[in-house]
Structures are given as structure tokens and as C-alpha cells.
């Protein structure tokens, strides 16, 4: 992911490959088709009550910590971690409301970085997809600058390195919040 100076929000997107963001230039679909396909990725599930779960990224140094913290929330180790980084100004231009929504199940160092994007209606989801595509075009960037894939083996390495980074300075890491597979990685360092 390219350095983007402004604050942005991370959306960990679908767990099944391939994603529409893998091949954004697919000649099979026109721009409207791409916007609709991307809008589906932004559609909150029924249990999310109209809000799409995202994590605030204030500087790129926190990226691995958020990835590791997010992955550790799940009982089963994720097959991969596909991340879309949505710049703050894109949300602003698309008039998407950002709601603070601390995730108390996450490690306390990242719990407060959890937010919800109000994307209850299709119009707002399409507005976000369109704005994101326009923003990339205006900056002459490709989707690769805001989309990243972390493979299963890499999740393990990231979990290890984040723990090693955090443990000397954080007096007590609430590792009990991690699912057993993540705890095992840390214990076996």
C-alpha cells in the first residue's frame, strides 16, 4: 500500500477470493458494473445494523497492529486478509457518516480505533464506490495503492512481530482476548 498522508479507514473485505479489487480493470464490465460490484463489498450484513465495520488508521506504522488485532478476533484463522484503505476525504466527499464504535472484544490498544460507516442504503454505497474510483483517477493512482492482500502464512508472521513490538512497552497485553490460534503463536515465540 502506498503512503497516503491523510487519515484513512481500513475495511477488511471478503474472506473468499477473488475479490473485485483483485482485477479492477476487468474488460467484462463497464464502470457502472464495477461500481455496483464494489458497492456490494460495502454492504453491511443484517447483523451490522446498517453500519460497515472499519478501523481508523492514523499512520501507516499501525497497519500491522490493526491487521493482527483484527485477525485475532476470529475463532478460525483467516484464509487471507484483504484490506481496502479508504481515505478520509473520500468518505467526506461521498457524505458518509462515520460513527465511533469501540470494539470491546479487540485488544485494548486498538479497541477505540473501531468505527462504523453509515452505509445502510444502496445510494450511499454506490456513492462511496464512485467517489473512491474518482479519487484514484484524480490522483493518478491504481487500486493497488489502497488495496492489500495478506496471505495466511503472513498473518502468523505479522502476529508474531506485532507482539514483539508491543510487549516491551505495553505493561500488560490483554492476550486473553486473542483466539486460541493467535495465542498459540504468541506463546510459542
Amino acid at each position: 500500500m502506498t503512503q497516503i498522508s491523510n487519515c484513512s479507514y481500513l475495511r477488511f473485505i471478503n474472506n473468499i477470493d477473488p475479490s473485485v479489487f483483485d482485477i479492477p480493470d476487468d474488460g467484462e464490465v463497464d464502470l457502472e458494473g464495477r461500481i455496483k460490484a464494489a458497492a456490494l463489498v460495502f454492504e453491511p450484513r443484517s447483523i451490522d445494523q446498517g453500519c460497515l465495520s472499519v478501523w481508523k488508521l492514523q499512520n501507516i506504522g499501525e497497519f500491522n497492529r490493526l491487521q493482527a488485532g483484527f485477525a485475532a478476533l476470529f475463532r478460525k484463522k483467516l484464509e487471507n486478509l484483504n484490506t481496502l484503505r479508504i481515505p478520509d476525504e473520500v468518505l467526506e466527499n461521498a457524505h458518509i457518516e462515520i460513527k465511533s464504535s469501540p470494539n470491546l472484544e479487540a485488544f485494548s490498544c486498538i479497541a477505540h480505533l473501531h468505527y462504523g460507516l453509515d452505509l445502510a442504503d444502496q445510494k450511499s454505497r454506490e456513492a462511496l464506490a464512485r467517489e473512491l474510483i474518482n479519487w484514484l483517477a484524480a490522483k493518478n493512482l491504481t487500486l493497488k495503492s489502497i488495496y492489500s492482500r495478506t496471505r495466511k502464512q503472513e498473518i502468523k508472521e505479522i502476529t508474531k512481530s506485532v507482539y514483539l513490538d508491543c510487549s516491551p512497552c505495553v505493561s500488560q497485553i490483554d492476550i486473553d482476548k486473542a483466539q486460541p490460534w493467535a495465542r498459540n503463536i504468541v506463546i510459542n515465540i
Partner: protein, 166 residues
């Protein structure tokens, strides 16, 4: 009772309760037509249901939930797995829904004529879905053919899938 009424009643009462040869043939045709309509209606409903489940799968980022959704899809489609290839080939569906349908199809089926339409599909994302599906069903020789795919992402990802499996 008037004469006309009596004649009408007689016609109704005299109408044989068993069908004639002609009406049997007509009844059978009607029955077959109804069955066909029921079948196409059933297939339509099943297709819409599977498309919605695939959308849920795309929206989910939880491995447990994704696995459950895949199981539900395959259970729903028992005996009708070709519906997945039809979803993948239908351009009225979203491109990401089509790519995942292609993956799920190839994860379950090893050889049908519908394979050919999907294997060399002009959409790179659908071909990438095919590669993942072939890998899911362990058809590694077939997977390796995509190392030379015309789209760089498809060939690069094929290499990654092969490396991850080793």
C-alpha cells in the same frame, strides 16, 4: 325444470367421469407443462437464493461464517450444481458474484461441457475464480495451465496458489 335445463343437466350427468383418449393426452400434456413450469420456477427461485448466499459470502469477513455459507450453498444445490456455472455465465449478475460462482462450481465439478465456457472466459476475474475452484478440488495440473494466463494478476496469483499449497 325447463327442457333446456333438463338437457343441460343430462349433458353434465352423462359426461363420462373417465377421460377419453383425447383428453388423456391433453391432460398429460398439461401435467407435463405444469411440471416444466414448476421446475423452471423452482430453478429460478433456487438461483436467486444462491445468488443471495454468494452475496452474503462476499460481504462476510469471518472464516467460520464463510465456511458455513459455502456448506449451505452446496446443500441447497444438491443435484443442481450446474446452477453455479449458469450464475457465472449470466452477465446480469455482478462480476464478483460470477467469479465466486465459478470458484464454487469448479470446487465441486470436475468435467462438464459448461467447463469449457468458463475455463477460457474473457473475464479475467472469472478465470481467477476458476483457478481458485480448480485448486479447491485439487486439480493442480489444470491450475498450472493458468501460469501462462494472458492477465498478469491471474498468472501471478496462480503461482501464489501453487506455492501456498506446497
Amino acid at each position: 325444470m325447463s327442457n333446456i335445463a333438463r338437457q343441460t343437466q343430462s349433458v353434465i350427468l352423462d359426461k363420462p367421469s373417465f377421460p377419453t383418449n383425447k383428453s388423456t393426452s391433453l391432460d398429460e400434456k398439461m401435467k407435463r407443462l405444469r411440471e416444466r413450469l414448476d421446475l423452471s420456477q423452482y430453478k429460478y427461485i433456487l438461483t436467486r437464493k444462491v445468488v443471495n448466499l454468494i452475496k452474503d459470502l462476499i460481504r462476510s469477513c469471518d472464516q467460520d461464517e464463510a465456511d458455513q455459507l459455502k456448506t449451505i450453498i452446496f446443500n441447497e444445490l444438491e443435484g443442481n450444481i450446474n446452477i453455479l456455472s449458469e450464475i457465472a455465465l449470466d452477465d446480469s449478475n455482478l462480476i464478483n458474484v460470477r467469479a465466486i460462482a465459478a470458484r464454487l462450481f469448479f470446487a465441486k465439478v470436475t468435467n462438464t461441457p459448461l467447463h469449457h465456457s468458463l475455463r477460457g472466459h474473457r473475464s479475467s476475474l472469472i478465470r481467477l475464480g476458476v483457478v481458485y475452484g480448480l485448486a479447491d478440488s485439487g486439480q493442480w495440473e489444470e491450475v498450472s495451465k493458468y501460469l501462462r494466463d494472458r492477465h498478469a494478476t491471474v498468472s501471478k496469483r496462480t503461482q501464489e496458489i501453487i506455492d501456498d499449497a506446497d
